[in-house]
């Protein structure tokens, strides 16, 4: 063996051994299709599948081609401003999403002339069900706590701190109980729409920002914290300027966290144009976030929001495009569904609205079937993943309705 081969072996061995056995994820449960294949494998001897499967595949392709021939003119013409809702359906894998009922109410932190309020709104009528604002409380952010009746709310604490409380509502959306979370005071203030709870109700992720940034601590702008709600233990990843994480979402098991942010690279240039979607494995060590996160889709100039699917394999990305013409603004919201790992596009949906100069955000419900689509100045809408349509909740009046953080 020559010297190059020796060095090569040594380098490979050293590089490979940075993968420690205890850090490897366990094998996930196989999906339904895999189980079907297993059963087919277990049914010994039959070769019918070898003939039937190509036939069925050919028939499916023919049916899809026929469908495209009929639907193509509509799909390719794109959304038109005259249609209030125009979802472009493109084979979203809706069958993987449970057919859960639509949540009955939305809990939202609303900014108005008199301050910040916390309200519940009916998803059917858009009317306020209850104003549950507590006196002298500055609400920062809200997230659904594993179901659509309990929520975690972040409020400003003394100094530069954030307090977390659990709110329990009745099925009709009326507040029943408020209970502070034990040992949950965080340093810094949580940003709007900067909290997420895993669907199993076990983990809470919060991005909180240092209040004294102007005093020069550009290296420690804030922290993304992950709190185990059952044990009270937490870990954190610090971020630097110009990172401002928002739109946090966790996979159902809390293993994957996704957020929208500028990169955490310490440069003094900050801009929406730098915004990217980042994925962070929550089993990574505490430390600077830039040592652990990964860009999911690269820079998207009109990126507005993002959400992770419950199994973490898909990411929905919301982009908004504004066209100003004849003193009116037309906004096109586009939801692009990509694979979280590879970035491959799975589906794309769009809706166009007149007079909607907004920045949208995506908030999936705990089942992952319904994704709330809201912006800071316009009506609430939600996206039905199974039926692939966007529905506008009525009575959203831009003059009085300015949600800053919403969950359902």
């Amino acid at each position: 063996m020559n010297n190059v081969e020796t060095r090569l072996r040594e380098a490979f061995r050293a590089d490979a051994e940075t993968v420690r056995p205890e850090t490897i994820r366990p094998l996930p449960e196989p999906g339904a299709h895999a189980r079907r294949d297993q059963l087919r494998w277990l049914a010994d001897g039959s070769r019918r599948g070898r003939i039937l499967i190509p036939l069925v595949a050919a028939a499916t392709v023919a049916a899809i081609l026929a469908g495209v021939a009929v639907a193509a003119p509509r799909i390719w013409s794109g959304p038109t401003p005259s249609e209030p809702v125009n979802a472009i359906a493109a084979g979203f894998p809706g069958s993987a999403v449970p057919k859960a009922p639509l949540p009955k109410f939305v809990a939202t932190i609303v900014q108005s002339g008199t301050g910040v309020r916390l309200e519940t709104l009916s998803t059917k009528t858009g009317h306020v069900i209850a104003d549950v604002t507590a006196p002298h409380t500055r609400y920062l952010s809200i997230a659904a706590d594993g179901n659509d009746r309990t929520f975690i709310v972040a409020t400003a604490g003394p100094g530069c701190s954030t307090r977390l409380s659990r709110l329990t509502f009745s099925a009709a959306g009326r507040l029943q109980r408020t209970r502070p979370l034990q040992g949950s005071a965080l340093h810094g203030h949580a940003d709007w729409q900067a909290m997420a709870v895993s669907a199993d109700g076990r983990f809470l992720a919060v991005a909180s920002r240092n209040c004294k940034v102007n005093n020069g601590s550009i290296k420690h702008l804030g922290t993304i914290s992950l709190i185990n709600l059952r044990t009270g233990t937490s870990k954190g990843w610090g971020f630097r300027w110009p990172a401002l994480p928002t739109d946090l979402s966790l996979s159902a098991d809390g293993r994957m966290l996704e957020f929208v942010s500028n990169p955490s690279n310490g440069t003094r240039v900050g801009s929406d144009r730098l915004n990217q979607v980042w994925a962070l494995r929550t089993n990574s060590r505490s430390g600077p976030v830039e040592q652990h996160y990964r860009s999911v889709a690269g820079s998207l100039p009109t990126l507005s929001g993002a959400a992770l699917s419950p199994n973490g394999r898909l990411t929905s990305i919301l982009t908004t495009r504004h066209i100003h013409k004849d003193r009116t603004t037309t906004t096109t919201f586009t939801i692009t569904v990509i694979k979280t790992e590879s970035g491959h596009q799975v589906a794309k949906f769009a809706t166009t609205e007149r007079h909607a100069p907004g920045q949208g955000q995506l908030v999936p419900d705990t089942s992952g079937r319904h994704v709330l689509l809201f912006d800071f100045s316009d009506a609430l809408r939600w996206f039905d993943v199974v039926h692939q349509r966007i529905v506008t909740i009525p009575n959203g009046n831009p003059a009085i309705f300015r949600p800053v953080s919403t969950a359902w």
């Binding site: 090569l8 490979f12 994820r25 094998l27 010994d44 060590r285 820079s299």
Partner: protein
């Protein structure tokens, strides 16, 4: 997970390769078999994938996809001995897909950013390893694959040829050219 990088045929030896009944217990047996395969070979495959794709998280995803693909591939795998070569090939193919996507993303000026090594590991890294690893990354894809299979997995040229679906002669010539290129890059004499 066991820390074992050797080729081990044991996990599936005790399981009837073709079950005769369509029942839940047999399904559970398959789950147990795949789980044992993952326990025995998962670490070695993740390490191999890391050498190909460059970061552990992508490597884990590549290997998990390969194992999930194993469920689908079982009807075609008549020989228990074929499972490990199948997994190696699956990992190679998925690693190629990952790298292909990154290349396309780079062309669109959408940069994939693999996580940086932590400060701790950066301190522990030794310079020579960095130089060699960087030189290997500059090699063509097939050359990298051949080197990893030969010098990390320790496969014979025949096994490498079977895994990559190329001839044995191509394996030898690719390896020779890759070593020569590395020697030039590392300023070593052969």
């Amino acid at each position: 997970m066991q820390e074992d990088t050797t080729v081990d045929r044991a996990p599936h030896a005790s399981v009837t390769w073709r079950a005769s009944k369509r029942d839940e217990s047999a399904t559970g047996e398959v789950d147990a078999l795949v789980s044992r395969l993952h326990q025995t070979h998962g670490l070695a495959l993740v390490r191999m994938a890391k050498l190909l794709v460059g970061d552990q998280q992508s490597a884990e995803d590549v290997v998990q996809d390969a194992f999930l693909g194993l469920y689908r591939a079982m009807p075609r795998l008549h020989d228990p001995e074929a499972v490990l070569p199948y997994l190696r090939t699956a990992v190679l193919n998925r690693a190629r897909s990952t790298l292909r996507f990154r290349r396309r993303a780079a062309l669109r000026k959408v940069l994939h950013q693999p996580p940086d090594p932590s400060a701790e590991s950066a301190v522990m890294d030794w310079a020579d390893r960095q130089v060699v690893t960087a030189a290997v990354r500059r090699l063509p894809r097939r050359a990298r694959e051949v080197l990893v299979l030969r010098y990390y997995v320790d496969l014979s040229d025949a096994d490498i040829a079977a895994t990559l679906g190329i001839s044995r002669g191509t394996v030898s010539s690719t390896a020779s050219r890759a070593i020569a290129a590395l020697a030039r890059d590392l300023k070593e004499e052969l």
